[in-house]
Symmetry: C2
Subunit: 220 residues, 2 copies
Amino acid sequence: MREPAKPAKRAPLNRERVVAAAIALADEKGGTGISMRAIAATLGVEAMSLYNHVSGREDMLDGMVDAVFAEIEPPDSSVEWKRAMRERAVSARAALRRHPWAVGLMDSRRTPGPATLRHHDAVIGALRAGGFSVAMTAHAFSVIDSYLYGFVLQELSLPFSDSGELGDVAGGIRRALPEGTHPHLLELMTEHALLPGYAYADEFEFGLSLILDALRPDEA
Amino acid sequence: MREPAKPAKRAPLNRERVVAAAIALADEKGGTGISMRAIAATLGVEAMSLYNHVSGREDMLDGMVDAVFAEIEPPDSSVEWKRAMRERAVSARAALRRHPWAVGLMDSRRTPGPATLRHHDAVIGALRAGGFSVAMTAHAFSVIDSYLYGFVLQELSLPFSDSGELGDVAGGIRRALPEGTHPHLLELMTEHALLPGYAYADEFEFGLSLILDALRPDEA
DNA sequence: ACGCTACGCTTACACTGTAAGTCCGTCAAT
DNA sequence: ATTGACGGACTTACAGTGTAAGCGTAGCGT
């Protein structure tokens, strides 16, 4: 009954392949619904075989998050700091949008992987090269990354992707509003967010510039 | 065998009590590990009974997030806008720290509850009252909330709470660093983050002030 | 030719969310 | 006072989860 038939010389698994398969699956099926069994299936393997390469689910998630950090273009210290920070932020946002599950995972990961550490080091290095003191670097790093992660977090929780859907959804919400309450929310929607051409994604640039322009190496 | 014994006149369930029990459990056991069965148990009830009051797990999570928004002190429109925004941000951070699971949940909720809508309306109203144009209000709302959520997200993912633990953990990481690589990260840790008296929480104030001071009603 | 190790396999367990159906206490209408 | 309906808590059942434990075997260094 059992068919050893074709052992088929399968390409051997390794941590990298396992994590990559998990990422591919998460990208297409969404963060929830990736299970050890499902990941294993895409590799043509049984669930428990994964445990030879990752120590468990948590370890696998750590690996996935670290892989996302590896996709972010690290800032170039030889470039003027403001431009370097802007480009890094754009690259990071792009990576997080490619892998929407990553943001939600970040707050439960407590052990940064090698790519994460390398990335952080590069960011800090670029700020120091731009003339920031150690203390000011810590401040700048904190504001920029907080804004970056928070923006993507909000962006991803919007229930639409293009501005076509926006109209439908917002219209639905507006109709659901208890009529007459929430005047300011209503005003913002009808006179701004619902106008043709509006896209929340464009807000990113405003906040990023606001923060970068407010930061100064030569203070504190 | 079956003991009707004491129907005991149990206080009747309702959506509010169910959601409150879920929140209490999540607060003490952590976001993961709250299951319908566990929630029901704290109410002295079987899992399936909850389904008479919430339509399912997702609905329950929606309710929990909305309840957290209800805890945030809404800004007072009669107060000068910058102060109102600062106080609102502080209150929001406090609420999110009381319920650490909430931030991670936010990015999967797509249907805002009544408290959430009321809160957003109040924030927008306070900015409009402060002289912001509709467009500028949208910008300001986006930056401030992105920073707020992002900061808390990072804060919560730190593997320590007080600055005592910080030393241990950072020491561990530093020892784990491949020796000689990551010079800037190392510098930042030893010359700044590991100094006595440093607490990441204090960074919040810096970024918040930076953003609030950079915002101006009378632009664009 | 030996045994060792690496690694995929099967089995098993405790736990999840929830569909479906049962049963009873309460209350309105008769 | 009797009936009927119904809300809401209950039981049962099922498919799916992560992972502990142990088995089988292919390929290697000796």
